[in-house]
Amino acid sequence: MKLRRDTLPALFLEAFFRDPDTQHMANTSDTIEAAAVEAGTVDRPAPRFAGGLFGAGRPNLIGLILPFAILALWQTAAANKWIDPVFLPAPITVVTAFWKMLTKQHLAFDFLASISIVGQAFLYGSVAAIILGIAAGLSRKVEQFFGPTFDTIRHIPGIAWLPLIVLWLGIGAPAKVLVIAKSVFFPVFLNTLQGIRNVEKNYIELAKVLTLTRWQLVRKVIVPAAMPSIMVSLRYAAGLAWALVVVAEGLSGLSGLGFLIFRAQGLLLTDQLLVCMVIIGLVGFAIDRSMYVAQKRVLKWKQGYDG
């Protein structure tokens, strides 16, 4: 959360190539490793991680098994024509399509269009959700006021709202942002609320005794304690936002990955479809890992169960 922007790509690389739970250690151990060798042992979360392939960390090789297995299966299926290429073109075809889309068909532009929509929607949706979630978490009154309505509305399919949304916001960017933001809102809201409900009463009592103001209570006690819960919903919601960009861009427009997906599906341009799917998947993954690393840093005090 407190990360400077320029550290994010680095974080991502770190996230991918290192075992998640050596992250924190890796930071401190650089400076103390030498001393530790002389002075005794250095405590590590678990000894099994000591001495990885890349020094302090170990690349997450296990995590690469499944993707490569899928890739291999895909390649084999395509090579042996288990699945008609019109539904599953070979990986190399997809790469070619990617290159062509990138160089000749403004793929980068579509990508930016989508990421701008997704980014805005995620931002608005999650900020609103966290603020309202905290408000509802702090006060039963607020929860009771919004609760039944929210719990009713969130079950109603987004698609059913489309005509009303078009009526109010037209079919431009605001409508798309709203469609996505609405979906981002609910998981974050619910997890924030529940995260707060789960803050130990003891800590709230302490805050009362120290006569913390509401705002101090939120900042110093409630948000840190609810953070694990909030972070997991943000990670999830980021994925949801991407998944919904297709619905939103299907709403209107001639650009964006969602449009490309719709078009590719309607016309059975499966290679392009797969290009879009892979891009969205990888970008989503990158976002996810960055958030994971951010979460690890924010929650470095957390003594949870490491598996």
């Binding site: 019109v86 650009s255 719709f262 309607g266 341009l269």
Partner: protein, 332 residues
């Protein structure tokens, strides 16, 4: 005399207005029983149609023979779907895919009024190919992904959104098949008006606007008699329906769960396509594809330009066995 063929005991077909009539009136039974196909399952494929999923359904065998407009069918073939067209319709007409605006919008009364206005429709269907021709000929090309034209074209895939957009003013015009389930209601509500139609001598009416049925090549090769029976049943249904409109409308309303007036409209509207006559001549059907492909490529269709079919591919795509003079033709 037909070769000895494998018997197909049951067949999955799309649930459409004509198939429910054929099922209800026993036309399928009459046609299929003879060749041992005793069971016909009608499958409502809903939005799957739109999403290319019906191609997958055909490929996976969930649907044996599927209806598709000739333009997307061609692109599917170009992308490698191993199917053939076993039936194509006669040329379309000007009523099929008109340009619509809001009835009370007095600023827009003709295609010329669309200059600089917003037009929203699905990019992958007749809703694009028909107005594309009209406006291009009127000197008001659509915007495309690469360059700006004279009309702000935007793709809207969800039909409800396309209609809502026109009704709320988010867009100024759209194109739709009035007889399609998704639009009949809006049209019958009287809130829309027609401001332009495809020219009678145009590419859309004569070529790109045709309806086709396609199936997997291996399916067709294995069960040509089934295909023939299917086409025969369709022909019989068409004839019966034109003689019994009210009864047909009741069947359609009941089986496809639409209001009666909508069902009747879908049968009687001049722009309907469910009950069109077939194109008997395979060569004319092939020429239709060749012609619209050339025309669209020439006028800047980015998709066909890249993925066109060669002449030979087109020739093979239209399966002559089911047209006049063919071994399994119903026109003979």
């Amino acid at each position: 005399p037909a070769r000895a063929e494998e018997v197909l005991p049951s067949i999955n077909l799309q649930l459409t207005p004509w198939t429910v009539i054929a099922q209800e009136k026993g036309f399928f039974k009459d046609a299929f029983d003879k060749i041992g196909t005793t069971k016909v399952n009608l499958i409502a494929s809903g939005a799957a149609d739109l999403l290319g999923a019906e191609a997958a359904a055909v490929n996976g065998g969930a649907i044996a023979i599927a209806q598709r407009m000739i333009y997307p069918a061609t692109v599917h073939r170009a992308n490698g779907l191993d199917g053939v067209i076993i039936w194509a319709s006669e040329p379309s007409n000007r009523y099929r895919a008109p340009i619509l605006a809001r009835a009370d919008n007095d600023k827009i009364n003709s295609v010329a009024d669309l200059d600089g206005k917003k037009f929203g429709s699905s990019r992958i269907s007749c809703y694009w190919s028909s107005p594309f021709e009209v406006t291009t000929k009127a000197g008001l090309p659509f915007d495309s992904r690469d360059k700006q034209g004279r009309i702000r074209y935007t793709s809207i895939d969800n039909s409800a959104v396309a209609i809502t957009s026109v009704l709320t003013g988010a867009t100024d015009a759209t194109t739709a098949h009035l007889a399609a389930g998704a639009f009949a209601g809006a049209w019958l509500s009287g809130k829309l008006k027609v401001i332009g139609r495809s020219p009678d001598d145009g590419v859309y009416v004569n070529n790109a606007g045709r309806v086709t049925y396609f199936a997997r090549r291996d399916f067709v090769n294995k069960y040509p008699q089934v295909v023939k029976a299917f086409l025969a049943a369709r022909e019989r249904t068409r004839e019966w329906t034109s003689d019994h409109v009210d009864e047909a409308a009741e069947i359609v309303a009941d089986k496809t769960r639409v209001p009666l007036e909508v069902a009747k409209f879908q049968i009687t509207h001049a722009g309907e396509w469910e009950f069109m006559a077939g194109e008997p001549n395979a060569e004319r059907a092939r020429n239709a594809i060749k012609t619209f492909q050339a025309w669209y490529v020439e006028n800047g269709d980015d998709i066909l330009a890249e993925r066109g079919l060669t002449s030979a591919q087109i020739d093979a795509f239209i399966d002559g066995r089911f047209f006049v003079g063919g071994q399994y033709s119903i026109y003979n």
